[in-house]
């Protein structure tokens, strides 16, 4: 019985990973997925900061558009956004698919990051700004020295979760023909006709990377708490 299971398992591993160097599909896919997450997180962070600041200004027009941006992005599926951006917005531009997908994921993530940053800044006690201003510091000096350093502590945990979701959301990049981790599994499955082994392999990879990101995040949070 046990021998049978082991025999089956080693067959599956042989066909799905070793034969014809099929493991390369997973390795290559992992590289694409990591790249997408990395660039999208950078783009999303930048967009998020801008949108959050726009929402917090007294400028009614800016804050209106910023809040509409958040509404629209959060109100539509990310896969639909990805397809619209690829087939409509960048259709006539010859741009690398990784770049297009990173921008799409970044635009999506930016809406969520904006809400995190806005909430993090607003959670800082109003008296902090008043105390800073009463000393004679300008609005931007107060933001820089007093408000933002305290807001970062509020924002960081949510930001980590956002990157982790982003990492898993990139699994839809195959919709625009990118050979990411998910697509890699499907290519292998198309060759080996295994029911589920390629999916188990990528599930393990997705999970393991998430565990590493969670650990890194925990370390950062502990580091920040030291100054409390």
């Amino acid at each position: 019985m046990i021998m049978k299971i082991i025999g089956k398992l080693s067959d599956e591993i042989f066909f799905n990973l070793i034969r014809e160097n099929r493991y390369l599909h997973f390795v290559k896919g992992l590289g694409i997925s990591i790249q997408l997450t990395f660039y999208a997180a950078l783009i999303g962070g930048a967009i998020g900061l801008l949108i959050a600041l726009a929402r917090l200004t007294n400028n009614k027009v800016l804050s209106y558009f910023a809040s509409k941006y958040v509404d629209i992005i959060r109100g539509t599926p990310v896969v639909v956004q990805l397809l619209i951006i690829y087939f409509a917005v960048f259709a006539s531009v010859n741009m690398h698919r990784v770049a297009v997908a990173s921008i799409a994921f970044g635009i999506n993530s930016g809406a969520y990051v904006a809400e995190l940053i806005r909430a993090g800044i607003q959670a800082v006690d109003k008296g902090q700004m008043e105390a800073a201003r009463s000393l004679g510091l300008s609005y931007s000096q107060s933001m820089y020295h007093i408000i933002i350093p305290q807001a970062i502590k509020n924002i960081l945990p949510g930001m980590g979760n956002e990157v982790i979701s982003l990492w898993k959301e990139t699994a839809i990049a195959g919709f625009i023909g990118l050979e990411d981790l998910m697509r890699g599994a499907e290519i292998v499955r198309g060759r080996t006709f295994s029911n589920y082994t390629p999916y188990l392999v990528i599930a393990l990879i997705y999970f393991y990377i998430t565990v590493m990101m969670t650990a890194a995040l925990g370390k950062m949070e502990r580091g920040m708490r030291k100054s409390d």
Partner: protein, 240 residues
């Protein structure tokens, strides 16, 4: 030194200040008393424009605060403020709390500012707390650090917004004695307070505020012993 002319302030439909005028002279200690919601704190916060008056004017050394184009940050440097909730910066230690503004705004070197901070901390009776973070301090200690932080900018006038109201009773004394020290040194002060004993002892003048106006104004002896206004009398009978 500070002149207030016909100050009005509304929040939406709520009229908090309804025509307040007064003048605070150099070296004077003015205590503002009155029931909650009478506009005392709003009046005080208008003096450094933390609250923008709906109408009326505030002059500091003859310069209008409310006129557009005035460098409000520069003017605020002359006016120190101490808050009910202390508002120390929790991510900075005591030394950084005190030295931030002088270093950034007065171009003081870190060393100069630290020396000054040490001197100020000694003055408020906290000689050995330089590198503590605010969350390690008691309420009374926090408030004394807040006083030192305001003094570090060499203000010409100090505003106190109910500085002892958030404190446990046994800590009120240490904050009041730090404030008395300032009175002795001749600091110009405006103090919104519920500590009638303190107001009576150190105030040169008492303003009694009610429903957004200064209902009565007099020396402490007169106002406490011989209140003229009906509302002052009824307020004092409740708190004394």
């Amino acid at each position: 030194m500070i002149k207030v002319v016909d100050l009005y302030k509304s929040f939406g439909t709520l009229e908090v200040l309804r025509g307040v005028s007064n003048e605070i002279h150099k070296g004077e200690v003015v205590c503002v008393i009155g029931p909650s919601g009478s506009g005392k704190s709003t009046f005080l916060r208008c003096l450094n424009l933390l609250e923008e008056p709906t109408s009326g004017e505030v002059f500091i050394d003859g310069v209008s605060l409310t006129e557009h184009g005035k460098d409000i940050n520069k003017l605020r440097q002359k006016v120190g403020m101490v808050f009910q909730q202390f508002n120390l910066f929790p991510h900075m230690n005591v030394m950084e709390n005190i030295t931030l503004a002088p270093v950034k705004l007065k171009g003081m070197s870190k060393e100069e500012a630290s020396e000054k901070a040490v001197m100020l901390l000694r003055k408020v009776g906290l000689p050995d707390k330089d590198y503590e973070y605010p969350n390690k301090l008691s309420g009374g200690q926090k408030q004394r650090v807040a006083i030192a932080r305001a003094l570090a900018m060499d203000p010409e006038i100090m505003l106190f917004d109910e500085p002892t109201s958030a404190l446990d009773p046994e800590m009120v004394g240490e904050v009041l004695s730090a404030m008395k020290q300032l009175v002795v040194e001749g600091m110009t002060m405006v103090v919104v307070t519920h500590e009638m004993g303190f107001a009576r002892e150190v105030g040169d003048r008492i303003l009694f505020m009610d429903e957004g106006i200064i209902a009565e104004e007099n020396s402490p002896e007169e106002l406490f012993n011989n209140p003229k206004n009906e509302r002052t009398r009824s307020f004092l009978s409740k708190v004394l």
